[in-house]
């Protein structure tokens, strides 16, 4: 628990420091994710140490959206006339991107013979 939590924070810290100092276009935690993945691939036994803490945090991933979501309520008034346009953009792009992604996957899988097994 202690070591896994330290490892998570350490990856994030290195990610933040690297993206700031090298002014990379990635957010620090995303670089931390890549770093953590590299550690897991290099040391497969590390996964057993990380699993309980990672699953604990990810099981309630949507809880972490709540504080930022509450701030939205104050924002709604400032959106005004843009609300409908944003709704259309969200619904339209979601339908298009699910359809485009799934059709592309199925087509490329058929072409390359990457069978489902």
């Amino acid at each position: 628990m202690l070591h896994a939590l330290t490892a998570l924070l350490l990856c994030q810290l290195v990610g933040e420091a690297a993206t700031r100092s090298l002014s990379l276009p990635l957010p620090g935690p995303v670089l931390g994710l890549v770093l953590m993945l590299a550690l897991l691939v290099s040391f497969p036994r590390f996964a057993a140490l990380m699993r309980p803490v990672a699953q604990g945090i990810l099981a309630h991933l949507s809880l972490l959206f709540v504080p930022a979501g509450v701030g939205v309520v104050g924002h709604l008034a400032t959106l005004g006339g843009q609300t409908m346009a944003l709704m259309l953009a969200v619904v339209g792009s979601t339908v298009l991107s699910i359809a485009a992604g799934a059709v592309t996957f199925a087509a490329v899988a058929r072409l390359t013979g990457a069978r489902d097994d």
Partner: protein, 238 residues
């Protein structure tokens, strides 16, 4: 009554009250979600946000006071992003077997999500600061917020658009994919994960385990892809 006022003024100074309220409101939202048979419309985040907003309004509490307590939950977004490495690591064998379809669907899905959202919003005259919050909305919340902040978008507005995208995807995925007559569970799950992150992934796991695993893979990969694609897509509309 004066006693209550004294206790209230003491509690409302510290972070404990609103941190507890955030967890309690989420527990309530989650209970409603389970009671509604995990219907994606009864989203626990939407329910808890509405409950908390009503509480803040009733007690005349500012968002800054609320956030002094809720920041401890908000902080965990960073470590949670790093923790996504574990499900990604677990699906590496499946990824190796379907590398080309995965990469093609990731690029096409992520580009379509950002470009079509920006094009529709731009056509309706949405302002540039709001577009910056819209570009990353298909990435999982911690990542989308991080990307939007870097591009000058509001983190709270981004959170709302991310949640709306997740709920929309969870609701429309099955009808859209059935209409396209796609039967490959990997393709169906992966596209939902790329588009609708964690909320879509939770939905995909309810439908089929293979769809769920590929949705988790899509969510994790799009967290990385969006960081590169969203600033590029946004630059086309500025």
């Amino acid at each position: 009554m004066t006693e209550f006022a004294e206790i209230w003024s003491y509690l409302s100074q510290g972070p404990l009250l609103w941190l507890t309220a955030t967890l309690a409101a989420y527990a309530l939202g989650d209970a409603c979600f389970r009671a509604a048979g995990r219907n994606p419309l009864a989203n626990p985040v939407l329910i808890s946000v509405v409950v908390l907003a009503a509480l803040l309004w009733l007690t005349g509490t500012t968002y800054a006071t609320y956030f002094a307590g809720a920041q401890f939950v908000h902080f965990l977004l960073g470590p949670a992003t790093v923790a996504l490495a574990l499900p990604l690591y677990d699906s590496l064998p499946q990824l190796r077997r379907a590398l080309l379809p995965v990469l093609a669907a990731l690029i096409v899905g992520s580009l379509t999500a950002a470009l079509s959202a920006l094009a529709i919003a731009h056509a309706f005259g949405v302002s540039p600061e709001v577009l910056a919050a819209l570009a990353a909305k298909s990435a999982t919340a911690p990542v989308a917020i991080g990307i939007a902040e870097r591009m000058g978008g509001s983190p709270t507005l981004t959170a709302m658009l991310v949640i709306l995208t997740g709920v929309t995807g969870a609701v429309v995925a099955t009808p859209v994919l059935n209409a396209l007559r796609l039967k490959d569970w990997r393709a169906r799950g992966f596209a939902v994960g790329v588009t609708s992150h964690g909320i879509g992934t939770a939905r995909a796991f309810q439908v089929h385990p293979t769809a769920g695993a590929f949705a988790g893979l899509g969510m994790a990969l799009n967290a990385i892809a969006t960081a590169l694609i969203a600033p590029f897509a946004l630059s086309l509309f500025q």
